[in-house]
Structure formats: C-alpha cells, structure tokens
C-alpha cells in the first residue's frame, strides 16, 4: 500500500491534559476517601436517606470522577459524552415505562396477585426489618 498520504502514526497522539502520575494518584486518593464514606455511611446510620446519599450519590460521583479523569472524557470530543448519555437515557427510558408494570403490584384494572402473595409470605420479615 505504498504511496498513500494518510498518516500511520497513532503514537503521535499525546495526552493533551499533561497530567502526570501525581495527578492520577490524587484522583485515586479522592476516590478511596469517597469509597470509605460510601461503606461507612450505611454502617453508621440505617436511615434510608443516608444510605441513598452515601451509597448511590457517591457511586455517581465516583463514576463521574473515573469517567472524567481516568477515561479522559473531558478531553474527548463532546459528542462522546452525549452518546454515553443517550445510552443511559435509553436505559432510564426503559426503567420509567417498564416500572409502571413490573415494579407495581397493581394498577388500573389489574393486580399482580402472585407478587402480592410473595410479599405477604415475607411479611413477618418485612416488619422485622422496619423495627430494627
């Protein structure tokens, strides 16, 4: 394939951010702190809000930090992030529409009798949890 002008050299691509190892280690350290909080939070308090924020809120922050700093999405073309968000959007769209059927145990003119029965079977345990 001689005589073609296109460049063959991928390796010429350099990291435009110029971050060194120190930067990555700093991010890693922050991630570890967040991680410790997310583990400790639910241990300290069984309050639902605390669990939600510490476990899932922090998961989102951590994912964001990994994506932005380790995957370098901040230096990527904008549309890469848009594509990823579009994919996430598809997932949430699925959740929103489907949860009306699957997550509910009854609705307009229907009820999920077997799901109710399953919940009924475990009622004792449910109360046990709520008392704790």
């Amino acid at each position: 394939m001689a005589g073609h002008v296109d460049s063959h050299d991928h390796d010429a691509h350099t990291d435009s951010d110029g971050h060194g190892p120190a930067f990555y280690i700093k991010i890693w350290a922050i991630l570890l702190v967040l991680f410790l909080i997310s583990v400790a939070g639910p241990e300290i308090s069984h309050h639902k809000a605390v669990i939600l924020v510490t476990a899932f809120g922090i998961a989102i922050v951590k994912a964001y930090m990994v994506a932005v700093n380790f995957m370098h999405i901040k230096h990527e073309k904008k549309y890469i992030a848009y594509i990823m968000f579009a994919m996430l959007g598809a997932v949430f769209l699925f959740y929103i529409a489907v949860s009306t059927d699957v997550q509910m145990t009854s609705g307009s003119n229907w009820e999920n009798a077997s799901a109710k029965a399953v919940i009924e079977q475990h009622k004792d345990f449910q109360e046990h949890i709520e008392h704790e």
Partner: protein, 192 residues
C-alpha cells in the same frame, strides 16, 4: 497481505484515533446491556423490600475489598497509559501486569466469596435476589476476565514498542468495568 493495516484504519476524519472511537462505541453498547440488567434488578428490588433479608448475607467486606482492588487497578492502568505514551515500555508493561494482578485478586476474592455463599446454601436458584446477584456479578466477572486476557495480549506488543496506543484503549475499557462495579457494589452489597 493479511497483516497490513488498511488505510481506512489510519484515517481520522473525526480527529479521534479509530481505536478509541470504537472503544467508546463498545462501551456505549455495554452501558445498555448492564443498564438493562440493573434496571430489571432495581424494579424488583424496589418492589420487594424483603430482599433485604437476602442481601444481609452478602459479604460487604469482600465487596468493599473488591471495590478497592478495582479502583487501584484502574490507577495502574491509567499510569500504564501515561508511560506508554512516553514510550517507557518497561514501566507500562509492569503496570499492565499490576492491573492484571488486580483483576486476578478481584476474581480470587470473588471466588472465595461465592464459594462461601454457595456452601451456606445461597445459590443462584435460592431466590430472585440471588439470581440477580450471581447474574449481574457473573456478567461483570466475565468482563474482568476478558479485560485481563486482552491486557496480557497487549502487554506482549508493548514490550516490543508496538501498538502502544492499545494501552489507552484497554484502559478505557477497564475503567468502564470499574464503573460498573462502582454501581454493583452499593446495589448488591450496601443496600440492606
């Protein structure tokens, strides 16, 4: 002929190297696979609060340790990328293998964890929570294994200073696997 790279591969109309563009699309397709599974799990989890009685039996310590292992391996692979770009192939090679070792540690911990759970009678058919637990974590573990194999293969090229850009590609993939675990961990272990 077989080994010649087509001109097509070397072009970069978008300004992004082709490999990196492709990896992002791979991740896009993975987002919907994992996302679909986790959304199914989430619907049932919110429908059946009693699943907490199963999730108390998950080993939070093992899960936490694995989170730490994956986070750290993510650091290794991003450093490997850093050195690969600077053509320091020995450092890159070492860091790639550190990452593979991280993946291995992850799998060993997972193995111990699963063995304990199965011997305690919590198998994939015990209840739907455990079905989701093994399916989601299993699918994730398959990705870990795939990533490790690819890294081992890439590391051979790195030693010869060939295809150094692939370190970045496998890195992006590995970070994605890490991110999936970041969400699996609270979903399966912490929410009790």
């Amino acid at each position: 002929m077989g080994t010649t790279t087509p001109i097509a591969t070397t072009r970069s109309v978008t300004g992004m190297p082709t490999g990196r563009l492709a990896v992002w699309w791979v991740i896009g397709s993975e987002i919907v696979i994992f996302g679909g599974l986790l959304m199914c799990y989430l619907m049932f989890r919110l429908k059946y609060p009693y699943w907490a009685m199963y999730s108390v039996h998950t080993n939070t310590f093992a899960g936490a340790l694995n989170t730490f292992v994956l986070l750290t391996s993510s650091l290794f692979i991003v450093l490997a990328h850093y050195y690969a770009e600077r053509k320091e192939e020995l450092k890159a090679f070492g860091l790639i293998w550190a990452t593979i070792f991280g993946g291995l540690t992850f799998l060993v911990i997972k193995g111990i964890e699963w063995t304990t759970e199965i011997t305690n009678g919590f198998t994939i058919t015990s209840s739907m929570f455990w079905s989701f637990y093994y399916t989601a974590a299993g699918l994730h573990a398959l990705h870990v294994i795939a990533g490790m194999c690819l890294m081992a293969w890439i590391s051979m090229d790195v030693l010869q200073k060939k295809n150094m850009h692939r370190v970045e590609l496998i890195g992006i993939y590995w970070h994605f696997v890490d991110i999936v675990w970041i969400f699996l961990f609270p979903l399966l272990y912490i929410a009790k």
